[in-house]
Symmetry: C2
Subunit: 433 residues, 2 copies
Amino acid sequence: MDTIKIGLLGCGVVGTGVVKQLISNQENIARNTGCRLEIKRVLVRDLNKNRSLDLPRKVFTDQADDIINDPEIQIVVELIGGIEPAKSYILASFAKGKNVVTANKDVLAAHGREIFAAAEEYQKDLRFEASVAGGIPIIQPLKDSLAGNRIKEVLGIVNGTTNYILTKMALEGKEFAEALAKAQELGYAEADPSADVDGLDAARKIAILASIAFRTRVSVDQVYVEGIRDISALDIVYAQELGYTIKLLGVAKEVNGEVDVRVHPVMIPNNHPLATVNDVYNAVFVEGDAVGQTMFFGPGAGELPTASSVVGDIMAIAKHIRLGITGQLTGCTCYYNKPIRPIGQLNSSYYLRLLVQDQPGVLANIAGVLSQHQVSIASVLQKRTLGHLAEIVIVTHEVKEADFMASMAEIRELPPVEKVDSIIRVESTNSNG
Amino acid sequence: MDTIKIGLLGCGVVGTGVVKQLISNQENIARNTGCRLEIKRVLVRDLNKNRSLDLPRKVFTDQADDIINDPEIQIVVELIGGIEPAKSYILASFAKGKNVVTANKDVLAAHGREIFAAAEEYQKDLRFEASVAGGIPIIQPLKDSLAGNRIKEVLGIVNGTTNYILTKMALEGKEFAEALAKAQELGYAEADPSADVDGLDAARKIAILASIAFRTRVSVDQVYVEGIRDISALDIVYAQELGYTIKLLGVAKEVNGEVDVRVHPVMIPNNHPLATVNDVYNAVFVEGDAVGQTMFFGPGAGELPTASSVVGDIMAIAKHIRLGITGQLTGCTCYYNKPIRPIGQLNSSYYLRLLVQDQPGVLANIAGVLSQHQVSIASVLQKRTLGHLAEIVIVTHEVKEADFMASMAEIRELPPVEKVDSIIRVESTNSNG
C-alpha cells in the first residue's frame, strides 16, 4: 500500500484535531483511500511546547520551508489562518508541486482568484471544506450533488459567536453587552470580538459560498456588512411578537444576473428552518431551481468538527493523487463574471423602531414621508409610552433600499421624531431580493 | 467539446424532471463538466403519450435494449423503480460498459452487494444520491466530506408520506385514518399506502444509509420495522406534554461492533433538530466521532428535487468518464462485515399507555412486574378516568428491549389491565442504543 505524506502548517486547535483524527481513524482512512496517510512534518511556533500528540518529536519544525521544500510531502494542510504568511505558503506549496487543504476563510475570501489560479497553473488540488461552517459539509455538496442546480439563494448562519449571543439575548432577555461577556467567558468570543460581532467573519464565509453558488468570484470587500452591536433585547421581543427571529445572516442571491451579497441582522419568520438554529451551531440554507429548499446544519467550529472537514479533504486529495488526477476534479468553478448588486438596489421589507413625541399628527407626519418615498406600511404598533415619548414599531412592505433609506434620512429630521432606534431588514422567504 | 450520451430508463415524474433540468441548465452543466450531455434515448411504456418535453420523437423507445445495447450511450439512468426489470437492466448496463445512475432504493436495499460487485467487475461508476431523501445531498457527503469520521448514528426522517401524516396528527389533532385520507387526497400517499405507513420504504433507505455509514452491507430484510398505523392522536398529545415529538425514524447505530438498524415511531425530544422537520420534508441527522451532530434537511421526493440529485450524479460521472477514472472513485465502501444487533438487545426508554381498572393496588401490581424484569420507571401519569377504567402513561428508564417486552407480556395478562394501548420507543440523544 502506498504512503502519502502530509505536512501541517500550524498545530493549534484545528491542527491538533487533524492529527488526532488521522491517527485514531487510520484503519478506516487507509481502507477508504487505498493508501496510508503519514504526517511527516508539522510546523509549530514553539518547538518546546508539550503537545501530548502521538507523533515523534522529529516531526515538529519551526521552519515552514522544511515542509514546503520537502519533495516527499504531497499534501500541505494550511491551518495558520490570516492572510500572511498563509498566502505565501499556499502559493509556494503549489509551485513546489503540492496539493493544498486549507481552513482559511480570510485568505480565500480576499485572494481566492490568485490562489485558484496557482492551483490550476500547477494542476494541483485545492480543497477548503473547513473554511465555511466548520464541520458542516457545504462546499462539496454545492460543487457535487447540487451542481445541476441554478442556485437562487444561500442564507447562512455562519458565525457561531454571534449566533450564541443572539440566542442568549432571545432566550434569556440579555442585552448585547451582557451576552457578549458571557460568550467571552465561555471562550466563544475573543477578547477583541469585532471580527465576529461586526460581521467580517461571516462576510468572508458568504463571499466564499457566493463564489461557488453563483460561479463568479466574490471577494470579501464586495460584501455589504453590518454587525449585531445595535440589536437590543427589545427588538428581539418585538420581532417575536411579530412572528420573527433575529439572526445574523450571510445572504447571497442572484437577481437579474447580479449577485446580491451581504451580512446583516435579519428578521426571519419563526417557521423558517434557520430560525431554530441556536447557540454556536451553524446552518446554511440553500435554494436551488431544482432541489428547492435545503439546509445543512452542524457545528461551525471546534477542534474535531473542523478536523472532520479537513480530514475529508485530505482523503479526497489522496485518492486523486493515487489516480493521477490532481487539479482535474477540484478546480475553480467561477466561470462567469457577474456584477455585484449595490445594496441600494435591494428590495426588502424593513422593521423600524422609533421614539416620537406622544402628540397628535406624528404618525400621519411619518407616514407622509414614507409614502413620498414609495414606502408602504404593512403594520404599525405603538408599544410603550415613556414620559412624553411614544415608542412606535413600523414594518414596511417591500421597497427599494435606497428609497427606504432616503425616507429615513428625512424622518430623522422631523421635529417630533426623537430617535430612530433600530432598522432591521425582514427576510420573507421566496422573495427575490 | 466532447459529447457524452445518456440513456434514460423510465420517464415518469423523476425522468421528466431529469430531462427538463438537463436541458434548461445545459450551459452551466457544460461549463462544469467540460462536456456536452446529450439525452440519446429514453425508454417509455407508451410511445404515443404526449410528453411536452423538448426532445425529438425518435429519442423515445419502448425497447430497453435500444439503450443497453447502444455502444454510444455511456451513462444509463435507471428510473423504473422496483426490483425487476430494473435489476437486470442495471446489471446488463454494467456488462455493456456503461455507468449507472439510479434513484432506486428498492433494488439497492435488496441487491446492493450484487450491483456493486458488477460495477466493480466492469470498472464503472454507480451513483445513487436520489435513492435516499430525494434532493438532499446525503450519500455523497457521507462518502466524501464526512469520510474521516467513525459514524456513531444516523437518524432519518426519510419518508415524506408518514412525516406528513404525523405532522397533520400533531398540528391538527387528526387521527391516523383521517390524516392518511388527506395525504392520499393531496397525492402524498398512494391508494395502497402500506409501503409508506408500514415503514418498508424507510427501511430500504436506512439500509442504504447504514451500509455507507458503517461500511458494512445492510440489506432491507435485516432492518427491524414497525409502521405508524398504531399511533393515536392521544399519544402525540401526551408526548408533547412530556416534551417529545413522535416521528417515524430510520435509526442506524453502531454498538460494540454491531449494527443496530431499525424503523419505528420514536419519541424524540422537542429540542432535537429532527423534531421541527414537518410535512413532507425529509431530514437526516448524522453523528460522527469528529464532526459531532449534523443534519441535512430538504425535500425527500418530487420531480425536480429528485432530478437535482440525479443530474448531480450524471455530472460527476461525466467528469470521471472524461478523466478515464470510472469505477475508481465511486466504488463500494462496505469493507467490513459487521453483525446486525438483534432488536431484543436494544437499550431504550419506552413510553407506554394502558387502560387499567380504576382500583387500589393496580399500579403497585404493574410496577412490581416491571421491576422483576429490571424495568425502572422514570415517570407515571394518570391521564383520564373512563368509567371504571383509568388511563395510565408510564415512561421507563433505559432497559434492554427483551426485558421490557417480557414485562409487557406479563402485564397484558394481569387481571386489572384492560388493554396496553401503545408502546413507543423514546430516543434520548447521545444514548448508544
